[in-house]
Symmetry: C2
Subunit: 616 residues, 2 copies
Amino acid sequence: MGQIKRFLVGKPIATEHQHHERLSRITALAVFSSDALSSVAYATEAILSILILGGSVALGYSLPVAIGIAVLLVVVAFSYRQTIRAYPKGGGGYIVARENLGDIYGLIAAGALLIDYVLTVAVSISAGVAAITSLASTWGMPWLASYAVEIGLVCILLVSLANLRGVKESGAIFAVPTYVFIASILILIVYGVIRNMLFGAQPVVHRIDPEILGTGEAIGLWLVMRAFAAGCTALTGIEAISDGVPAFRVPESKNAASTLTWMVGILVTMFLGITWLAHVHGAVPNELTHETVISQIARTTFGDGLVYGIIQVATALILVLAANTAYADFPRLASFLSRDRFLPRQFSSRGDRLVFSNGILALGVFSALLVVLFQANEIAMLPLYAIGVFISFTLSQAGMVRHHFHIKEEGWRWGAVINSVGTILTAVVLVVLAVTKFTHGAWAVMVLIPMLVVLFNSINKHYSSVARQLSLEGAGRPIALRRHTSIVLVSGIHRGVLPALQYAQSIAPDNVMAVYVNLDSDQTARLQQRWIDWGFNIPLVVLESPYRSLITPLFNYIQEVDARYNDHVLTVVLPEFVPAHWWEHLLHNQTGMLIKAALMFNKDVVVTSVPYRLER
Amino acid sequence: MGQIKRFLVGKPIATEHQHHERLSRITALAVFSSDALSSVAYATEAILSILILGGSVALGYSLPVAIGIAVLLVVVAFSYRQTIRAYPKGGGGYIVARENLGDIYGLIAAGALLIDYVLTVAVSISAGVAAITSLASTWGMPWLASYAVEIGLVCILLVSLANLRGVKESGAIFAVPTYVFIASILILIVYGVIRNMLFGAQPVVHRIDPEILGTGEAIGLWLVMRAFAAGCTALTGIEAISDGVPAFRVPESKNAASTLTWMVGILVTMFLGITWLAHVHGAVPNELTHETVISQIARTTFGDGLVYGIIQVATALILVLAANTAYADFPRLASFLSRDRFLPRQFSSRGDRLVFSNGILALGVFSALLVVLFQANEIAMLPLYAIGVFISFTLSQAGMVRHHFHIKEEGWRWGAVINSVGTILTAVVLVVLAVTKFTHGAWAVMVLIPMLVVLFNSINKHYSSVARQLSLEGAGRPIALRRHTSIVLVSGIHRGVLPALQYAQSIAPDNVMAVYVNLDSDQTARLQQRWIDWGFNIPLVVLESPYRSLITPLFNYIQEVDARYNDHVLTVVLPEFVPAHWWEHLLHNQTGMLIKAALMFNKDVVVTSVPYRLER
């Protein structure tokens, strides 16, 4: 067991080796932006997948919708620059909302974010798999698409293992795929724009033509609002930098703020560029081939060759990195919640490798479930996505408004204005998201968040109650220890029992008894016979058990003894023989273990195990 | 938890209520014959599914093959009448082979039978589902067939639960479906024969015509042997009566023997009749519609109406009863093996409801796995089936030959001749089965049986070794008890720790120490401060742990103390606070439990838990 774990997650790391690498702006951009930038891979497609319901004319609205989202992006980014300045130690939604608006808002933000991190993994991995299967289809391997779920699960497993080992936030791993992705998408856009201007647009050729529906839905405000809501997934991840300010080189806040500006600039450029190219080439989501919009644009622009392949692989890699970002965020947020006693304390203990192993495992399990549930179809998951992040945006920026009024730092009025605009805008978008996506799955998230908040609070109540009960505040000195009584449970008489009898006699010389449950009269008679020789003169009590239960007669007897000697401390002694190999435990009744558990839970007695070790 | 169990399996039953109903021959036939008779539902189809490979001409061999199998049936039945006479207390293959041929042959028979019982459940349930889905298809619900696996699993679950409750072997439950089945099949045969004679044969009309292959395989000895081997599944279950002799009314042996004769008579009639009808109507296995051969014959003879429906339902019911028979046989055989120390002892303890619950659970799990693995296709499972039962036939009859020579009872020579013929014939058939079915799955059974025998033997060796080590034979009186040292493990100082400190001090007043593992220097300093007030003057030892492990520094320290006081008994005391509700355990680190387990397994120390009970 231990060896398997060592092989998978590596040797333990000493606490003193915990360290924080400071990141230059160039590497920081790579480390923190993969989540935000990777949304380029599916945000345009999400918009088109709604507009297509209005038929081919409606597809023309994609560009205005994308421009609206780009404006929103810029406003939110400005708003977050305020957070970065105010929280140089890192200001995630939970911390900012809880500090400024109170526990309940902090917990709502936390619940929303936990859900969104799980979705980040599921959506990013599924979109990454789609990038690869689209490439495979174009290169003559369409069968790969039927293994999408399996590939997705393997990816989640690998990312989970990498994080359990502890991925160093070392720049190179992140920098190469991120910059290759940025470069290849920018080249695609620039080359595509020039080519279109010189030679005119060339329509995408599909292997199987997509169905452009346009029967059911009228083109109107509702459809455009739905498309806008769908495209808001482009905003997920832009809060990442504000969480990670301390990782920047000094001056942290300034570097972080300028990195955020750069990131949003790149994101807006890529998002609008891809949306424009999709528009001119007539790229649309294709339910039948499952080919992504980016894949359609890239192969129409560059042909089926190497450049196209690089774009697809870079897209897949940055999506895996985006998933990996959630593997930093989720366990960290869970550890904050756990430290504040809103989640089980297991989430705040660091494992062998200094990582929050339980958070990593929980994230892996939940996101794998989503991938199976949605059959690795990222477009189908999107209605659940983004709600959480907009709740967090709204609460965190409302918190910042409170913060400005409270602290009144230099230039606070201007800051308050920016954050107020941000709050109002994200709140309005949140309502749009909630309304338009409600029946498409968002209801599940909106039910889940209050349930999580209730859960957080009841966990907190439990821990507080335990702490109060265990507090030494006002505890009197315990009264002098009472006398000892001890009961040895025996299942027969053999070498394994003798040390237990002897031990029980030594701690309660005056008041010791052995107890045996009669399940078979012949065996009982034989035991009583042999007890004369080997019983250390300890009285043997035989209990009757008409239903062959051990626990019931035993508990009744313990209660009786407890009442008789109510000023004594009662110790129940269990003789246990320990096999030489762990798997041999399976060959012995686990009765001892069950009795121990039942005693601990139900009876106020001391339980003592006296081992007898077998040699082979 | 307890309530759920009570609802599913019912209230416990007292040992004294264990009783054995004596069965009349009429009810005994119903109770013991369902396994054997139900094979009529698939044996003919199994023969045809092989012959069809040789094309439509080869199908003509079905009747001669069936007659050969009928002869074999009669011989084996005669042979088993000897066993019934010789073992009035029940002579299953394991008992007869082990007693007369030695342990190893007994274990081979036992392993073979255990495998076959699992297959009995999987095959019977799958065939029962096929009877129902065939009926559903004819009655316009062909979609039901796509849920065959799910229906099969639900049936296994229900039969398992019924057996965990303890099905009484009361006649009525068995008698009604068995006799309805016998009656309806006999009526089908008689009516079918008369109708054919008067009006000539009417061919089966298929919804989709089956593919009659006949390309690959030449019609020759090999194909006929394979068909014969496939049909030998008709013999499974005929040994059931010899296992259950004590359940008959006096004179047990005589009644059992005549019941066996009746059973074989009915079985042979039904099997030959169905095979003949299949032949004249041209009924063949239909891969495309999955309609059973019986269903084809029945609806061709009686039309799609009620009589046809009754036949299909009766077939399904007797197949469920056949599966239920294995639920008596498997747990009983497992309990024999467990009593003889060849299987874990958990298999020989009776549960609340007086049944061998673990055997029932094991059978349910393994047969459910087979149903999933083979997608509830009973014809695909048949190559694995029957091998086990023929191994048991051969060994048990060889054992009977030895028995006759050993006991030399009156008329033993005649008995020896009968059993010798039986042995030789079943051995020859066994070789035919093994050779013809080898590549179709029988190899798996032939690999599994020796593995089981090795497993049985190593379990036996372990138990013997434990018994030797625990034996009081030659055990000296334990030396007088040594002095006590005790170590209290503390995770802090709070009310939950005080009783443990006090207890430890009381059992080892001169030699007690508290141990704390330093994971955070600030917390450690605070603890040391408070220890002055609350530590009962017990010395506090702080252990360093660079890798945040609790176990490693603790074990090193225990080893050190053990060496220092090597003439003392060392008790490790663990303070444990017990939450008011069991689910609250999840909110606390399970560290205490892990430490206890690690200590028990690795260190020769006494482990004591001192509880502190929380109120709410």
